[in-house]
Amino acid sequence: MVNNAPALIPVIYLTTCMLIALTRLRRRRYAHPMALTAAVLSSVVALGMLYHVIRFGSFHYHFGGWPPPIGIEYVVDPLSAFVALVINVVTSLVLVHSLNVNKVELGKKVVPYYSVVMLFLLGLNGIVLTGDFFNLFVFLEISSLASYALIAVGERGSALAAFRYLIMGTVGASFYLLGLAFLHMITGSLNMADIALIIPHLKIGENPALHIGLVLMVVGICIKMAIFPLHGWLPDSYTLAPSASSSLIAPIGTKVSSYVLIRMLFFVYGADLVSREIPVSTVLAWLSAAGIIYGSVLAIAQTELKRMLAYSSVAQVGYIGLGISMANPLGFIGAVLHILNHAVMKSCLFLVAGTLRQRMGHSDISRFDDSYRVKLPWTMAAFTAAAVSMVGLPPLAGFFSKWYLALAVIENSQWVLLAVILLSSLLNAAYFFRIIEKVYMRSPSAGGLAEQEEVRLGSGEPGPTMLLPVLILGTALLLLGLFNAVIVNVFIKPMIPLGM
């Protein structure tokens, strides 16, 4: 029974995708509840899988009954079950919020929109669960194609942003496919566990194909993950996409690519190979550090909330890259914990940006003042919690992932990188406290325009569908921070691969 669970999540999403398309015929308003049901069901399945994995160990699902090196398999181990749970729970909350936002921003396009959202989630869950490299490529492209569509329904200019993302993303996926060709040439297999067994028997110096394959695949995934010099597609896409899409793609899209990088480097090639024989991790460490500084500095320069959050995403992905590149258990814990924390923080921040756009009609930082606090006290409280967590103040969640990253950097004696982590926390404080200061301290300036808008949009807190997800995420940050020792010991410690 439980062995069939891994296939259940893609089946749920694929079926719902088709059914939602049918609602176009009669009942448009069913689209949103159906999408939400699918996400909640998948969260339940993911939770069950995580429980089972922690309790009884990892399990496999063989497609068509073909055993692994020949057939495709889905693997549920502590890492994949954990990431699948994060994706589905965060998505469920974002989908609750999207109901009212989409009514305003998308109008009648909601039916195809939710259909494409299901495809996007199908792709992400498939990436996380699959144990086969080529299957991963196909799911990568499914989720990417869906995200181009989700971005392109936004405001004027979003089509161009989506097009540039498409060009970059497809080049990235093609690099991945090219690297996979080299890997397949030398190992003759596509199954991750099988390749992991073959690689130690190859003589590294005599097989340049192994090096080329590794480098090309890492470059391809880094484009999807938006590691610093390859991040060009990210800011425009996140800014111009509709609020619901950016709060859906920003927290989980790049995180799943980081998952692929972790899976590839540590579970297939092995930490020893990528940090000593081929210095992939050194390059990754310095690029991530550059990305952290670059993203934070540019975030300070932005005047629009969503664009600022997009640049902050570039910086945050840098933290995950940094944790991966340390190639030691502490860095691994830091990276995985940051995948969870950043998914919760970023979704909370983007949801607040969506709420502001709907209630205030804009998300322009220079026009923020303390009337926001009066009108939206709870939303702004959740925003502040997420912002403080991004800066990394205890006891909120963001502190602990940065703490593990700092410990990992100290263990490898990389003092420059430690300075980067500390400096970036200061930069984060600079751009988040700027907003908090405006919202809580600054008295309203010219009231006339604001009041006119208020009449049009209505005042006060938004309805429960928009307020609840934000509050849950804000509270979750506090809980994740307080119980981080439990999360690390119960869930993350069993993930650490052997020989790391």
């Binding site: 196909v138 492209e141 181009y148 089509a159 097009f163 060009i167 080049v171 496919l177 060709a181």
Partner: protein, 123 residues
């Protein structure tokens, strides 16, 4: 010389790959970028197929003259089937790219990247 002639298929594929990547990176017209992307993807598909070449072997359909145990007599069909999937993925990408180009052209009446960035700045 032997090195070049012996690997002529790979040299052809590398040339295609470079043409595709150059077009994607340096052409101003968005439609030409899509064409470059398509060339780039095709070269990778050709690379997979070229990898699967095996001399003195036959199609992977069971033949009594060739015993099953001697796998070296049969071609490995896996790369070809994988590339069928990759071609489908490529077609889907092209479809989405053209749909986006149509929207862009309707909004701005141009597909020139430099002009489009100028238009974007006005907003």
């Amino acid at each position: 010389m032997e090195f070049f002639l012996g690997h002529y298929a790979y040299w052809f594929i590398i040339t295609l790959l470079c043409i595709g990547l150059y077009t994607v990176l340096f052409k101003r017209n968005l439609l030409k970028q899509v064409i470059g992307l398509s060339i780039f993807q095709s070269s990778i598909i050709l690379f997979w197929v070229a990898c699967a070449v095996k001399w003195n072997a036959t199609v992977p359909i069971y033949d009594h003259a060739y015993p099953v145990e001697q796998t070296s007599l049969y071609i490995n069909p896996l790369p070809h089937t994988l590339m069928l999937t990759a071609i489908v993925v490529g077609v889907a990408t092209l479809g989405v790219a053209f749909a986006l180009l149509i929207i862009i052209y309707k909004n701005y009446k141009t597909l020139d990247e430099v002009e489009l960035i100028e238009e974007m700045k006005k907003w």
